[in-house]
Symmetry: C3
């Protein structure tokens, strides 16, 4: 309700940031900046809300909750997805209280007003005959289905998925993400502003020191001159198994107008690693149409808050969810082939080991980052070449906030 | 300390509300509105502080605590009630730390300044001889005793009880509330703004869906055309047992100038229900001067925050207590005849069953209401005829806030 | 980030305080006042950070944490103390996460930048060659060692220890504080503004009622005319054992310009009490160069937040640490001779009994004080003669805030 930085001050603050340096502490401490983040980032961008396997039947719904907003994503009788604000049009109660469920119609737990799955008001006892019932449908929310992944946007004019679909689909399609299922999901609460989570994810300058488990198998913690030859070698192996190894960079400062950010990039694991596992051996059946293991991992972004890492046998989806100025949640969703059976085809411990241990470490270093940034002795410091994507994220963030 | 809505904005906000619709979300989310609620509602209105049976002897005291204020209500040597701010005049310490007790004098736990039960400074060691000791009495607080119920007001110019006493006493007197005792009390913390609790209590549009236990026995969840004949039949039965079945409506928009709200109304339970119990059978001995059971229940209000429901054998008192902008407490006090003995004359489980299960359900639906109102998709919706008292409450609330 | 009282309002508020009365409630409730307290008191004054015995070897460090700031105090290779902000110059992470430790160099847990113990940047992988590495040393913090006690100040222009060293050293030196060790430390969280803790510590008007254990042995809860003869008698006994019994008052309103407050005063325990123990008997070996027990206790202040009480056989150090507007921590550190061995020379229970029971009682009365001051019925009340040091503290506080 209160903003410490009014618009003119926010403008000045943004203008005073030095390119190539970390941001001023106000971006991590000011309620006014967080209000701007909410309005211009969280209420605009697309968010990963779930996977289509969660809504197999008409009437199945799931909730997407963020910053006090709650969105119902439901599969209609025709199989299409609908999304509605989870707010009754009578006196504003939540309609759905459980995070997942199945309904014929939505009935408000307060006064029993009910709505069709497509949002139309179905029944409102004793409603005055003079009221316009059509104006009392549930408020619609934008929803998109991309390769089995469900995205929602709270924006009235959400960015278009057209370019993303056209450009990104050929590269992602071979992994058959629409034919996967959720093997596991876990949330990691982090006592830090959301931007520090994204900054952390976008650079691997910290990996060699902070992530020994990751650095044993993944090459991106090395400088680009050392990574390039490995990735050159990957090209042929990727082609052989039907995976794309192109680099498609439409993220942050390279994002097309009127489109969400997106990017695709496949990089090499070290010799002996077929996937992101402790011993390098597969941890689940091959995904989609792949015919083998190329020892690569695909970095994919759909929007700035929804990266994913796709190995040959599983995918790891990230959700960066703001809670308040000083608290966030990082959620990880592990996907495997829809026919894979736990116990027979995969073991949860082996499947989740790498990114669980890595995310626990990130949580610790991000929290220590937030603590230090809160000091009056903090001042923005220089980013190095390996932090270039973090730099691009910060530039894009400032541009959107402006 | 900070107000998001200054006076001019609050005025605009109030003026922009549409009669017959629920309120704008700012009324449930804005610290500025809550500051106004505190100043113009909580620091002005009368509050139920307790029952006279809690203070049987001179020197007995109880505390009334609300929003950081603490009031000592004490019975003096002459038997009369006194109320004082629970604040030492020296350096401001609380005088009484326990919610109930018995004292000869009040002695501050800090520097041992002491006060007579009537508030006069008794002893202040080493106080400079030049100080005016009479100016260092405890600050007085307004207190009223009505039919055994103790009310306090933090206002410097509290509304007068004169009209209420004259009009309401004849209808309430037969229940002998002054000759009851507290059989049980329970607090229900509710994560919602206080207004949502009052809005909920003032309408029974939600009862048929949300309160099956209540709706089996009470008729007020039906539309007025269906309730009227039942209440007509009640008139003679009520007269026969010495209970009043008049309708006295001086609440909300009908409240007299300079007086607290008050109202009295008796309505019919369904056939087979002698009281508000699970099986319809009595749960305690008859109250006051009643000579039998008429199958009715009296709705009584003293102020907007203190409704009660009086059956033939017990009374159920409500206290709506604000905690902060987003948290409230609903307290229920169950009264039975002062001679009734637990185990012999009443069983606590049977006595409290109905309103315990009903209040637990209300807690859930009110919390879901607050959550939905917090959404940017919420907009005020239309109230129906059965929500007329809620509508009147909202109009009165806006008028007092203005 | 937000201040309820801007500078002009704070000035008016300060000017409206009445000498000899407790302060207006705004000083205990206003975020704006707390922001001013932080800037003008906590970021200026000296704070007790620890004891030299905690840093016996080069590379040993300890953290001083307060209000989100964290300072590393470390012993250098040359044995001298250094203090640095615990903030990496790269992206602001905390460098040291553990409260105590031993290092060769400081290495950031995030991107592994490392620093010498004296603060110089040692290594920053891939740092652009154009960056000025000398400008990326750790930010220095002022640190002083006085008689074994380590003090830090977050001020850019901290008050000088010169006068304090010259005047206070002769009186404190006989206790050999530099040759002690920490026998025990305990923190007492108090739900109150920090000023109420200091106000409480600075007067013994409350002792006779609130601290029966203390009042049995210590004489300062009595009026000055009754204490004076006891203290006169102490002079010769103190001289006989090598302790100073002068009164040196450079605290609060008597503090020299450009110097921290300081004071020394020795007062008599009651007959039969050789030290501050339950039975009056010693609880540890004699401190420093003392040759016996004189039945006295020395009150010593270094800054307004760091009082200590020195008996012949142990010292009790206080730290008043603000947490937020409404929460503080009182920490007590018990020192004994460095050669004393627990079990053989002292028993922790006997050593800590008096000030543990006294501080628990203070916690209760201070919290009741904060509660009462929050009431709209609170108004500043008259201080008595025995509260003169509290009065001086309040005057000094207001002057520094102005």
């Amino acid at each position: 309700m209160t903003t410490a930085f009014e618009k003119p001050d926010l403008g000045r603050l943004i203008a005073s940031q030095v390119p190539g340096r970390s941001l001023d502490q106000a971006f991590y401490l000011s309620p006014g900046v967080f209000a701007a983040d909410t309005a211009r980032i969280f209420h605009q961008d697309w968010h990963l809300a779930g996977h289509i396997s969660e809504l197999p039947e008409p009437g199945n719904y799931l909730l997407f909750d963020m910053l006090g907003e709650s969105v119902i994503v439901v599969r209609g009788q025709d199989g299409a997805l609908h999304a509605h604000a989870n707010v009754c049009r009578h006196r504003g109660s939540r309609l759905c209280l459980e995070p997942r469920g199945s309904v014929k119609r939505f009935t408000c737990p307060y006064h029993a007003w009910s709505y069709e799955v497509d949002g139309q008001l179905f029944n409102a006892r004793q409603l005055d005959a003079g009221e316009d019932r059509d104006a009392l449908s549930l408020k619609p929310v934008a929803v998109e289905l991309f390769e089995g992944l469900i995205y929602v946007s709270l924006s009235d004019q959400p960015a278009s998925f057209a370019a993303l679909r056209e450009e990104l689909t050929p590269h992602v399609r071979p992994f058959g993400m629409a034919r996967t299922k959720i093997a596991h999901r876990r949330t990691y609460p982090v006592k830090a502003n959301w931007k520090l989570l994204v900054e952390n994810y976008n650079e691997c300058y910290h990996c060699s020191g902070a992530h020994p488990e990751f650095s044993r198998s993944h090459s991106i913690h090395m400088t680009s001159d050392r990574v390039a030859p490995l990735n050159d070698d990957l090209q042929a192996r990727a082609a052989a198994i039907g995976a794309s190894a192109v680099t498609l960079d439409r993220s942050t400062t390279h994002a097309p107008d009127g489109s969400p950010d997106y990017s695709y990039n496949r990089y090499a694991l070290f010799d002996g690693f077929q996937t992101g596992s402790e011993d390098g051996q597969p941890v689940a059946p091959l995904l989609g149409d792949l015919t083998g293991y190329d020892g690569g991992a695909s970095d994919v972004y759909v929007g700035i808050l929804n990266p994913m890492l796709v190995y040959c046998d599983h995918a790891v989806l990230y959700r960066f969810v703001p809670v308040d100025l000083h608290h966030s949640v990082q959620e990880i969703i592990w996907l495997v082939h829809e026919d894979a059976e736990e116990g027979r085809d995969y073991d949860l411990g082996r499947l989740t080991w790498l990114w669980d241990v890595t995310t626990e470490a990130d949580k610790r270093i991000i929290e220590a980052n937030q603590e230090g940034i809160g000091s009056r002795y903090y001042e923005p410091g220089p980013l190095v070449e390996m932090e270039q994507y973090t730099r691009r994220f910060l530039e894009t963030y400032l541009a959107r906030l402006a």
